[in-house]
Symmetry: C2
Subunit: 285 residues, 2 copies
């Protein structure tokens, strides 16, 4: 099983052109995870910009269509290189089909250890990692291969959707996240972390809903320290078939290192409790 | 004084090419407001996409450099037109200098009157509009022309930065917003509303800080009803010279119609209380 570095590797083929191979393990069902696609695009963008702006600070992606696993081409155009920031346009194509369009501002991130000047976002409270429930994506009715490569241990208070067929009603998922291959998190990992938890709509009883991302923006604020990430995903508003969710990611020192916002379509299953619903998670341990 | 429609008008000159004129009134100091630039880009995008997708649903912009007032060229490329959404790339140039790059997903918005299925964002509590303080941008030390074309009445609890030289410490601005020309709000107005209040950093005592936007994403959720908008801007995290802020916009029926997120650089003034600080606002009325 390829680790994160291999799964997000890019190979420069010409000025502004890269090839990558979408690994089917980084998928929900058969659709590559949106944060995973963003990590690949950002790896190419950072390479194109060069060492003066080595990390992403703000990444926005609009999703046009879901690519299948397999080879993709990345087209990267550096729009501006300034003193403290560089902006890049990055597009992902699968067999000439335009699948993702992203804008990436690169810069230099501080080490997470530096204390914030001010925070309006208290750290999420979680039970100890070992007391949380590791999600398994092995149910053949709706496999989630991503859960094999990203270890997600949810607060037991959030797993009602899987264990009891109903949510807490808070519209929140929270838990500990690690790369399953043991790789320590880096700024690109945070792009995946900001989009890897089960849809927070599950916690509102919208079991089996399919929540394809329309837009995802992630602000990366610091290089994460080694160790597990704390991740909290919250529903903000559901109306007229669209939902927006906010995701905060803290590193093992308790620093808020990334925040993601996404707007997604909300497609409800035909049956009240579809296979995707209860199959999305089977608590392992 | 040109109203919102005139100030954001675009003229198609060729396939994917538009001209517009940046009106100096829609500025903070001499810099055009980021939401105003987004509204112009989005007007061109919506025109290019055509009537099947008449409104913006998700708009992300990365700011490369601030254009001066005057003529600009917009280059618009439709990336995909689907059944329920279309995606557009839109770029703003001032005399061949690339100033803003945006991605715009268009679709059809519901009327605001439809109740949300679920909301995790309680409506902001405000004193009545007439009990709030209209901001004036007339101080010659740091003029804010925007405050003449956008009427902003802040909750008196948030104006300490202007009246007492200090903030409440909550990192929040909230108030009533209207277009000063009497035009009722539309989806493009919401892009301005999501970026028009004074920096919420002022409420933390960071008076006179200059907060240039690096990235701004706005989700537009519904067509706003006529009447004043309630707007709340909150600081989420300040660390290492960058700040992210979250802005919610409700229409006069109490519907949450737009949410903006921005990452900005935070540049502190040399003097503890610069001209920009106390001059940013002089309460009128």
């Amino acid at each position: 099983m390829a680790g994160f570095l291999e799964a997000t590797a890019v190979r420069r083929t010409a000025e502004g052109r890269y090839q990558a191979e979408l690994d089917p393990m980084w998928s929900i069902g058969t659709k590559p995870n949106g944060g995973y696609l963003l990590a690949i695009l950002t790896r190419a963008a950072v390479d194109a910009v060069g060492p003066a702006h080595p990390q992403p600070t703000a990444v926005s992606a609009h999703y046009l269509s879901a690519p299948p696993a397999g080879p993709v081409e990345l087209r990267v155009e550096t729009l501006r290189v300034g003193r403290s920031a560089a902006q890049v346009r990055a597009s992902l194509y699968s067999a000439d089909r335009h699948c993702v369009e992203a804008l990436i501002t690169c810069g230099e991130l501080p080490a997470a250890a530096s204390a914030p000047w001010w925070s309006g976002v208290p750290i999420v409270q979680l039970p100890p990692e070992e007391a949380c429930r590791r999600l398994s994506g092995d149910d053949p009715r709706f496999p989630v291969p991503l859960l094999s490569v990203v270890s997600e241990r949810l607060d037991p208070a959030c797993v009602g959707f899987a264990t009891a067929g109903s949510g807490s009603g808070l519209g929140e998922m929270r838990g500990w996240v690690r790369l399953a291959d043991g790789t320590q998190p880096d700024p690109l990992t945070l792009l995946v972390a900001a989009d890897c938890l089960p849809p927070a709509t599950f916690d509102l009883g919208l079991l089996g809903s399919w929540v394809p991302t329309l837009e995802l923006t992630v602000y990366v604020r610091a290089v994460p320290a080694p160790g597990p990430l704390r991740v909290r995903l919250r529903v903000r508003l559901i109306t007229d078939g669209r939902v927006d969710e906010e995701c905060d990611v803290w590193d093992s020192t308790g620093a808020l290192v990334a925040t993601g916002h996404q707007l997604a379509a909300l497609r409800l299953p035909d049956a009240p409790a579809s296979a995707a619903a209860d199959a999305a998670v089977a608590a392992a341990d």
